[in-house]
Amino acid sequence: MAALESPQPAATATAMRHAFGNVLSVLILVLIGVLAFSIRLFSVIKYESVIHEFDPYFNYRVTQFLSKNGIYEFWNWFDDRTWYPLGRVIGGTVYPGLTLTAGTIWWVLNSLNIPLSVETVCVFTAPVFSAFASWATYLLTKEVKGSGAGLAAAVLLAMVPSYISRSVAGSYDNEAVAIFALIFTFYLYIKTLNTGSLFYATLNALAYFYMVCSWGGYTFIINLIPMHVLLCIVTGRYSPRLYIAYAPLVVLGTLLAALVPVVGFNAVLTSEHFASFLVFIIIHVVALVYYIKGILTPKMFKVAVTLVVSIGMVVCFIVVAILVALVASSPTGGWSGRSLSLLDPTYASKYIPIIASVSEHQPPTWPSYFMDINVLAFLVPAGIIACFSPLSDSSSFVVLYIVMSVYFSGVMVRLMLVLAPAACIMSGIALSQAFDVFTGSIKYQLGGSSKSTDDAEDTSNAPKDDASAGKTDKGEEIVKERSSKKGKKKEREPADKPSVKSKAKKKALVLPLETSVVALLLLIMLGAFYVIHCVWAAAEAYSAPSIVLTSQSRDGLHVFDDFRESYAWLSHNTDVDDKVASWWDYGYQTTAMANRTVIVDNNTWNNTHIATVGTAMSSPEKAAWEIFNSLDVKYVLVVFGGLIGYPSDDINKFLWMVRIGGGVFPHIKEADYLRDGQYRIDSEATPTMLNCLMYKLSYYRFVETDGKAYDRVRRTEIGKKHFKLTHFEEVFTSHHWMVRIYKLKPAKNRIRGRAKKLKSKTTSSGWSSKSAKKNPWV
């Protein structure tokens, strides 16, 4: 850092300061890792070490299989206990990164004779990788702006609620490792860009491979990096380092992506990857142009340009025409459904109701931005401005990253997660610059005029920084870390001074002492508010395992453990080969905890199969029995929240069942279930609604609870209170009536004369089939 020769004692003093700074940085990073790990442990403390939600149960089941049977069985696994009778090729349809990571950790620990169970490893994988992700953020921001900004960004990422929501202890989902892989890949890309070393380019490709293994969001990387390369070329920042950073990544990255079975040949055939190939060609053209420009005289170069442009345009035109024809021949233009719904947010609701029905795929509301990234939401613009002075390749990259992630987070709430690291990086940069200015001002004011004003380069953004920082309450980490960081920065400044003194002194911005002190205190207070909010969000909002519910009442804490109660009942009281039908939300949990074969599950890969189950739930009892019988179903499971007021039950989801079923079987019409466009289940409900299977299975014998059959979720008494089930029998209802399991009654052996005539009358109105074995698909 001190570029000039200094006398001997000053050199050792500088070396001592550097050493002290490095040790302090390492200590702070260790503390950040511990912080990131511990803030995610609330659910383990409040509830227990259990896997949350729905998707993690599938990942847990796959990890169990991997740990029991080994990796070859895992690659070749065909799962016949789900999507009956179709089955599912697990090896080819799952992103293996998460399960392989957890499996490796389990195997390593067990071979060291630390006997952790697979469940414990799965539960704690996410907090461990969030600590790694904070360290990766430190490395990335250090490459962009320096280690002070790096530490600030790392601490912000350790606590940001948006990331906590998907990586609590127990949330064993792809994003737990994918966010770490994302940030690490970006760090290696920036490092390659800054150093031009092919070694880092190789590491970059390997990190990208890990990202492809982990999450479908890898397409974000393979589109963002080409966009950045294009941006650099267009703004005249092409350099050989850019070529080294990008070209090997494309070739090696495409190959590595094609290695993962889930992606396979999609790595070269789908539109999500075309941007990288296009920019690959463009960068080669640009590199060639620069090379020829270097070896020719300017006059000859002009001649070359005119000659080449005329020929090149023709060739380009032909190639582009072929490409457009190829892409237009596929109905979606080569994009997958999920990617298309990202580009055109209205696409899913028009064409693919399943994608539209997932609550995570809805656009976020404005308050959710403040809930999820809190004070970072208004530190980000300050960071963007700080990135522009000076603008380097790496800072243009993070600006592009934040802009793209803000757009995508506006489309889908789930992608707020991709915004979080970008927001933390930007805010870390902004905070670090603000602190630089304030502490520099204090030092200048206290030290007198002999010390030159350093930070000459970042004073242009200083007024905007402290104007915005001072007025609104902003800040960041814990006081202890902040003061030690301030101390480290103070020690770096004297080293800056000799080099600055030798340049022509720029009139630097120095604030009055009182302003700086007050602004620093306000920033600390802002940091305190951020920490309080993050801890509150982690403890109250994002730590619910959703398989166990609690509620506070006057007589203490109520625990609703109905889900596990019913899965345990299923696993103890049914045969191993019995098939259970339910809505697709509960498929993963049923296979993992109850160990029974299900018809549809959360993977939702087969819309027709889900539509079949949806049609069955929307049909009258007899038709539903026919459908379920044809699928060999023995038990039907419904979730009902009317007794305790649990709002995410099947009756609230019922309209989606109707829509999805109606999308494939046209005799199910949504209008039949609505009275005047309103969805109701009380006495004003339509007869179709009151006769459908979902209504009957949810409200059977409900009137026995309080005599009036008052549904606490819909806040009304139900329409049909006293009825009997003809084709199903109730076998289990959980303690709070949340889960109800019914068994299909076997078909009657004899049909009496009068019933035969009635039977033929009902068949002619419903299913058109003459044979005794009814085929519901006609």
Binding site: P240, Y243, P248, L255, L259, M300, V303
Partner: protein
């Protein structure tokens, strides 16, 4: 018009040639290697056009190995070229070692993907 264009083309060709002759021998060897790799890739594409693209993974791995090693050789050339100011403190041995490492990773992946 055509005559001046052909004359321009000839002038261009001559000046390109004379400028290229001046490059050092080690860079010319790397350029030859790049041309060989690209030529091999083109032959593979022509073969695929004749015979059909099954098995696709073998075709992909063959073509991408050629293109990959060409790209890596270009990176090596960039790093070893004495006229590049940005890389003047990078030892050519280090550049070559990086080149070998990256090629190793590339061909490991190729062998795995070849099928």
């Amino acid at each position: 018009m055509v005559k001046s264009t052909t004359k321009d083309a000839q002038d261009l060709f001559h000046s390109l040639r004379s400028a290229y002759v001046a490059t050092p021998t080690n860079l010319k060897i790397i350029d030859l290697y790049v041309c060989f790799a690209v030529f091999t890739a083109l032959i593979q594409v022509a073969y695929m056009a004749l015979v059909g693209s099954f098995p696709f993974n073998s075709f992909l791995s063959g073509v991408l190995s050629c293109i990959g090693t060409a790209v890596l050789a270009v990176c090596l050339r960039i790093q070893v070229n004495k006229e590049n100011k940005e890389f003047k403190d990078l030892a050519p041995e280090r550049a070559f070692a990086d080149f070998v490492l990256c090629n190793l990773v590339l061909h490991l992946v190729i062998i795995n993907f070849l099928g």
